[in-house]
C-alpha cells in the first residue's frame, strides 16, 4: 500500500498555537480574550471547559491529525484526577511524540 503523506510535523510551539485555535473555536473568542492561555493552563480549572466542550476539542484533534493520534484512547487511560488536572503542555507533548 502506498504510504499516506502526512501533514508536515509540527513543533511544540505550532502545536500549542493549533490547540489555542481549537480552544477558541470551542469556547468562543470572547472568553479566550479574557484568559492567559499557557502550557500550564488546565482544562477544567483554568480554562473552565466542561466535558462536552472537551468532547468537541477532542473531535477537532481527531479531525486534524486523523489516525496518527488516538486522542480518545489516550484520555481513556486516565483516571478522573488526571483528567481534571490535564494541562495544555501535556497534550502538546503527547501530540509531538505521536507525530
Amino acid at each position: 500500500m502506498d504510504a499516506v503523506v502526512s501533514t508536515a510535523k509540527l513543533n511544540s510551539n505550532e502545536i500549542f498555537d493549533l490547540m489555542k485555535q481549537f480552544i477558541t473555536e470551542v469556547i468562543g473568542e470572547e472568553f479566550v480574550e479574557e484568559m492567559d492561555i499557557t502550557m500550564e493552563s488546565s482544562f477544567t480549572k483554568d480554562l473552565e471547559m466542561d466535558s462536552i466542550e472537551i468532547v468537541s476539542f477532542s473531535e477537532k484533534i481527531k479531525a486534524h491529525f486523523g489516525e496518527q493520534i488516538d486522542f480518545t484512547g489516550w484520555l481513556s487511560n486516565m483516571d478522573l484526577d488526571q483528567l481534571i488536572n490535564l494541562n495544555l503542555g501535556t497534550i502538546v507533548n503527547y501530540i509531538e511524540e505521536c507525530q
Partner: protein, 254 residues
C-alpha cells in the same frame, strides 16, 4: 463534531469502531450529555462493538426543542435516530433518565433491542426524583454543585455554572419536560415493564438513593440481574472503567 439531521432537527452523535458487527447505543441522563460515556465507557465497549452515543434534545450539542420529553416521544426520537443511521438492532444502555428511555424502548420496540443495560434508572414515582424537577432554582443548582458533585470531584467554574444555569432555566421554564415527567410517574407499575423479555443488567450504586428502584426492577423483569457497584447515583463518573468492563462482558456473552 457530527451534528446530523433527524426529522429536521440537529442531533449531536459520536460513533466509535464503525466497522464492528454489533452496535451498542448509549443514552445519557437528564441535564447531562454524551460525554458521560465518551471518555471511558465508550472506548472500552468499542474494543468489540460499534458504539453510538447521542445528545438528547436540548442537551449537549443537540438542538433545543420545546416539547416531547415523555418516554413515548423520547423513544420515538431514538427509533428515528436508528432509522437514519440504518441500524436495525442494538444492545442498549441508558443512565438515569436515559435508563428509563432504554426500558421504554425495550418495552415498545423489543425487536430492535438485543440486550439491555440500565444504570441507575430512578423510579419516576419517587418523591426525591420529582422534588428535583419541582424545585429548580439558581439556589438549587448552587446547592447541588456544592453538595452532590463533591462525590465526583468535578468543580464547576463561573462560566460552566452560567452555562448549566441557562440549560436548566431553558429546560424547566421553556420546555414541557416538567409536565411530561410527571405523567410518567406510574411507569414502574405499568405492565409493559414486566413484559420486558430481554436479558437485562441493572447497575446501581451501593450507596445510591436509587438502589430501591433497581431492586423493584429486578423483581419485575424476568431476565434481570442486579449488580451493585461502589458509589452513589454518579457511578458512571466514579467507576467508569468498572462500568465499561461489566457492560462489555454482559453484551459480549451469549
Amino acid at each position: 463534531m457530527p451534528i446530523i439531521e433527524v426529522n429536521n432537527r440537529g442531533v449531536h452523535i459520536q460513533e466509535l469502531n464503525k466497522g464492528a458487527a454489533e452496535t451498542v447505543l448509549l443514552v445519557h441522563g437528564m441535564f447531562s450529555n454524551l460525554s458521560i460515556y465518551y471518555f471511558n465507557i465508550a472506548p472500552i465497549l468499542a474494543k468489540h462493538f460499534h458504539v453510538v452515543m447521542y445528545d438528547l434534545k436540548s442537551h449537549g450539542l443537540s438542538e433545543r426543542i420545546e416539547n416531547g420529553y415523555d418516554l413515548n416521544s423520547m423513544t420515538d426520537d431514538l427509533v428515528d435516530l436508528l432509522d437514519s443511521l440504518g441500524i436495525d438492532k442494538v444492545h442498549l444502555g441508558g443512565y438515569s433518565f436515559g435508563g428509563l428511555i432504554a426500558l421504554k424502548m425495550a418495552a415498545r420496540f423489543p425487536r430492535k433491542i438485543k440486550k439491555l443495560a440500565v444504570i441507575e434508572a430512578p423510579d419516576p414515582n419517587d418523591d426525591k426524583t420529582r422534588d428535583i424537577i419541582d424545585d429548580y432554582s439558581r439556589e438549587f443548582l448552587e446547592h447541588y454543585v456544592m453538595n452532590f458533585t463533591n462525590t465526583t470531584k468535578v468543580k464547576m467554574g463561573k462560566r460552566q455554572m452560567e452555562r448549566n444555569h441557562r440549560m436548566y432555566e431553558y429546560l424547566f421554564h421553556e420546555t414541557s419536560i416538567k409536565s411530561d415527567m410527571i405523567l410518567e410517574k406510574e411507569f414502574f407499575s405499568d405492565a409493559e415493564i414486566s413484559d420486558i423479555q430481554q436479558d437485562t443488567l441493572l447497575l446501581y450504586g451501593a450507596n445510591s438513593n436509587c438502589l430501591g428502584a433497581g431492586k423493584k426492577l429486578k423483581n419485575k423483569i424476568r431476565a434481570a440481574e442486579l449488580l451493585e457497584v461502589n458509589g452513589d447515583h454518579n457511578i458512571p463518573i466514579q467507576e467508569p472503567v468498572s462500568i465499561g468492563n461489566i457492560m462489555e462482558t454482559f453484551f459480549n456473552n451469549g
